[in-house]
Structure formats: structure tokens, C-alpha cells
Subunit: 120 residues, 2 copies
């Protein structure tokens, strides 16, 4: 958390790193996208196949934002039919430890939660 002066109201504002990070990777599909790209560079269609529930619109949108924020690279091959590959940038790679941690923590939560569920 660091102090910041907002020009609008000249009030002292604090920026929390956690919020900054979550704004970048907390989008509906961004976490999974990054997680997949952690392991392998993927084409649009490959990514789509790995995320069965995402619509084309949403996938495109999330990818554009991740690109804008400098976390992923978008490489277009000038071919017909088009081929576009997405990969992590160097900055994106620095997220890997956190993504791994989130993956483990989440799976653990998910499994314990399932055990405790009452079957009806």
C-alpha cells in the first residue's frame, strides 16, 4: 500500500498492490487463460477448446485486455487462413509462482469442499 495523491480531489489515496494485481488477472477468464499460456503458447482456437464455456466475444475481449496490460503477446502470422498465437510476455511469466499457488490452493479448496458436501 503506498500513498498517492489523486489530482481530482487532492485527497490522499492509498493504492493496494493486491487490488492492482486483481484488476489485471481477476477478470472472468483471465486467470485460466494465463494458466494455460503458462504451460504452452496457444492459438486462439486451441485456447477456445480449453475453455468450453467462454464465448468468442469474451475470449477476444479478455485477450485484448491482457495484451494491453503487457501480460501476453499476440503474434499474427500473415497466412490464409489466419493464425494467431498467444504467449506470455516476460512480465506475464513473473506471474507464474502466483498462478501456481492459486492453482494449488484452489484445487485443495475445491476437493475439501466436495468432501463436505451433503448428498441429497
Amino acid at each position: 500500500m503506498t500513498k498517492v495523491n489523486t489530482p481530482q480531489d487532492s485527497a490522499i489515496e492509498y493504492v493496494c498492490g493486491v487490488s492492482v494485481t486483481l484488476e489485471l488477472i481477476g477478470g472472468k477468464w483471465k486467470g485460466v487463460i494465463l494458466w494455460h499460456l503458462c504451460h504452452k503458447t496457444l492459438r486462439f482456437s486451441q485456447l477456445k477448446r480449453r475453455l468450453p464455456r467462454v464465448t468468442q466475444k469474451m475470449l477476444t475481449q479478455q485477450l485484448r485486455e491482457l495484451e494491453k496490460d503487457g501480460l501476453i503477446n499476440r503474434k499474427v502470422y500473415p497466412e490464409v487462413p489466419p493464425k494467431v498465437e498467444y504467449s506470455l510476455t516476460e512480465l506475464g511469466r513473473t506471474l507464474q509462482p502466483m498462478l501456481d499457488g492459486m492453482c494449488k490452493w484452489g484445487m485443495n479448496y475445491y476437493e475439501n469442499d466436495s468432501e463436505q458436501e451433503i448428498s441429497d
Copy 2:
């Protein structure tokens, strides 16, 4: 990522731990709330003061969800005026390494981003 059989369509589905985690802590204010509670048990009003932009409604809502998911405790003191304290559960505490990582990463991103900004 683990295989899961969804009863609805009997199709094979994969659950990504990253998504599970982000669904729990990715809410608009959840990250910061958890981060504050990492350091100190806080009353509703104290939390609110630390999050100047959050509305009362949103704060209440996010706290309820965090409670439901087992990440925070809500302790009501039977006093007048009311006093309610929020703290991390044992499970919530296990998030701390991740939150610390996110805090550091986010601050680093924020600072480098500010440097690169073009003043106009």
C-alpha cells in the same frame, strides 16, 4: 486442473484451481478486504474507513460472501451500539502468502507503469 463429471450433460469438465481461487478472492473488493484483515482484526467501520470508495452496501455484500466461503469470521458483540468484528479464519490465513505475493507484484507493476507514463 482435475477432471470432473458434470451431472447435467455427463460431459467431461475440467476444474482449474486458479479459477476456483479467483472466484473466491477476485470480487471487486475482496482482495483488499482480505489484505487488511491479514494484518488486523477490524470492525465494520474501520474497514470502511480503509476503503474510502466502497459503498456500505458493497462492503456488506462482499463480507457476507467471504464469510459464506469460510475465509473470514464475523463476530457480533451484543452491545448497544452494535459492534461487529471481522477476522480471517484459519483457512483465510492460508491465503496470506498469495496475498503478499500479489501485493508485491502489484506494487511493482504500479510503480513501473507510473514511470513509463507519458505526461501530457
